[in-house]
Symmetry: C2
DNA sequence: AGAATTTACTGAAACGATTCAACGGTTCGT
DNA sequence: ACGAACCGTTGAATCGTTTCAGTAAATTCT
């Protein structure tokens, strides 16, 4: 019942308690080399005894150039496990370096994203990991950069915008997946899900087309239906696709979530993925492994990508004049059950 | 190539540009009713024209009682989709109310958690949603409360600690699941995974025992092996369990992640879950629906729970003297394929 | 030994907002 | 017509920290 919402202990009180000046205390706290060990000890002892906690807001007020030290993370949609995997990688890395993060989820809305960015600017983040919502204008990013805040774009590249970027090799991933299906003997291969608003979609489509070309197969637009990235939409796609007079025998899916939705829809129609129809996804989400049949996929190494994104941001933060980096991570074709065997 | 890391525009400049005093500008910004519409317009026009961004750090410096306005979220382990679901619910709610969040992931380590809490205190969060790591001492929470920061505990209740709490009815959930299995004719029912460090584990076990009692079945400690919450550990559990002279015919799993790991292990041994062995999980993660057989589970409505946790924190923040709340959400038995049919 | 440097520390001015007491001017009540 | 109440506005103090310029004592240099 004690209403002891104690007033915050300030550094001034710490200084008094330690018998030094405010300035000395501040310097001791920041490990300024001109403060001798003994004095530091006194200050830290006082901090301990009084239960002092540092006020980052006040601190970053004076040193106006640096931000609060926190880094912002904006992702579009936690519902897609790929983002969760990415976030896990990011958080693990941040834990290592003991950094704090502001998290925002846009749920694919640009307005929400704008609001989020404004908020983060108000909180004076020191850096931003941005997984841009579809339709994001490059102006939005330029605005952040104008405040001197480093930005790392994840999986979404803006032409003509000087900005660090990390992504995966969508073209090669799409190429490898499609090529594998072609090598298995498939000739009607669909590329399903995702949409042309997505930067990654274009790359994966390009790889798909490249492989088709190599095998001298004509591109059939009917086999590349677009969709949002959820299971329900994927189900509709399958519905539509298997009503065609000449349905596909293999499916390369924009991502794993869609692949799983598609496989569920196939199964409910009595079509066995991995046997009647080959399926390959993209991303590598954990669910792909537990699904029957287990999902063959082009892995983007999402956790590693998250970790690398943090590393990139950190090097940018510690060295603002470093040349712009564009990291394209190699993809890897992960063959499991859903891609099936060679056609007889 | 413009090195135009422009200096931050301050409210003072805005005031000058609008032809009013700093005080007036501040009040206009905060919607103080004593500022007439016309003046507000002038100020907002100036804000627009100068590209002013509010500095929350500076603002929260003066009004020392309130924090920065951001709320902290600490979860243990994003790898378990349950937490992701919870986080989705939290983020959706926060988006509605346009609040910013600091996210920390402890990966089940108390030291990391301590560090995270300290950080969040330094950033002066206005409230904390805490999914406490196993082994967390109640002292840690008391410390936060001493700073006058509202805390909402999720799924982990500390006896004798006056603190808001939201969780699910573990006992009833465990009871219903077990009872259902008993009603199907099962008599060897295992309760697998989780461990006694977890508050929720005890509740679920209690419900399990209660149901067994009701059917006059002796509790067999061999049927309640503990484990960490991941698929590999679940697999080991199955390995061990099905080496017993008298293996179980039904499994009630501490959570869905373990249930899925267990079912994968069963399948790889040629045992068909939903037919040879009944399985029921707890939580309701999306993966449970795509798995074959689809996972019967006790849903904790994770997204709703996340949303409600935010609501609870918000009411506490707006009304600090409100009596302590303990919200226990009802569970619901979600019957799908894995629980099977009545034994012949 | 006297000057120059170093060492250990400090006072005071920032940083960008909030907030309180106070201002002159209009309107109201009686 | 006089004081009270109100309105729109403002100057100045304040929050907790950093940082610059400066000081007095101790050490080094020549």
């Amino acid at each position: 019942m004690k209403k002891s919402t104690q007033k915050r202990v300030t550094l001034k009180q710490v200084a008094a308690h330690a018998g030094v000046s405010l300035t000395t205390a501040s310097m001791a706290l920041n490990g300024n080399p001109s403060i001798p060990e003994a004095t530091c000890q006194k200050v830290f002892k006082a901090i301990e005894e009084l239960g002092y906690v540092y006020d980052r807001g006040a601190a970053s007020l004076r040193s106006s150039t640096a931000g609060s030290g926190a880094i912002g993370i904006i992702v579009t949609d936690l519902v897609n496990p790929f983002y969760t995997e990415l976030l896990i990688g990011i958080q693990q890395k941040l834990n290592e370096t003991e950094q704090t993060s502001l998290l925002g989820t846009t749920f694919d809305s640009c307005e929400v994203q704008d609001r989020m960015i404004s908020m983060m600017l108000e909180y004076r983040i020191s850096g931003l990991l941005l997984f841009a919502a579809p339709g994001t204008s490059s102006e939005v990013i330029k605005r952040i950069q104008r405040f001197g805040i480093p930005v790392v774009l994840i999986n979404r590249l803006f032409p003509d915008l000087p900005c660090d970027y990390i992504g995966v090799d969508n073209v090669h991933g799409g190429y490898e997946a499609t090529r594998h299906l072609l090598a298995l003997g498939h000739r009607r291969i669909a590329f399903i899900g995702g949409n042309r608003q997505l930067y990654t979609w274009h790359g994966r489509l390009q790889g798909y087309q490249q492989a088709l070309n190599e095998f001298g197969i004509d591109f059939d637009p009917e086999l590349t239906p677009e969709s949002l990235c959820n299971r329900e939409e994927a189900s509709n796609l399958i519905e539509h696709l298997f009503k065609l007079p000449n349905p596909p025998t293999a499916i390369f899916s924009y991502n794993d979530t869609i692949a799983i939705g598609a496989m569920m829809a196939l199964k409910s129609r009595g079509i066995v993925p991995g046997k009647d129809v080959a399926v390959i996804g993209f991303d590598e989400i954990p669910e792909g492994l537990s699904f029957s049949p287990s999902l063959s996929t082009v892995t983007a190494h999402p956790r590693l990508q998250g970790a690398k994104a943090v590393e990139l941001l950190q090097s940018r933060m510690s060295n603002p004049s470093m040349p712009i980096q564009s990291i394209v991570m190699p993809t890897e074709l992960l063959l499991r059950e859903s891609s099936g065997e060679h056609l007889k």
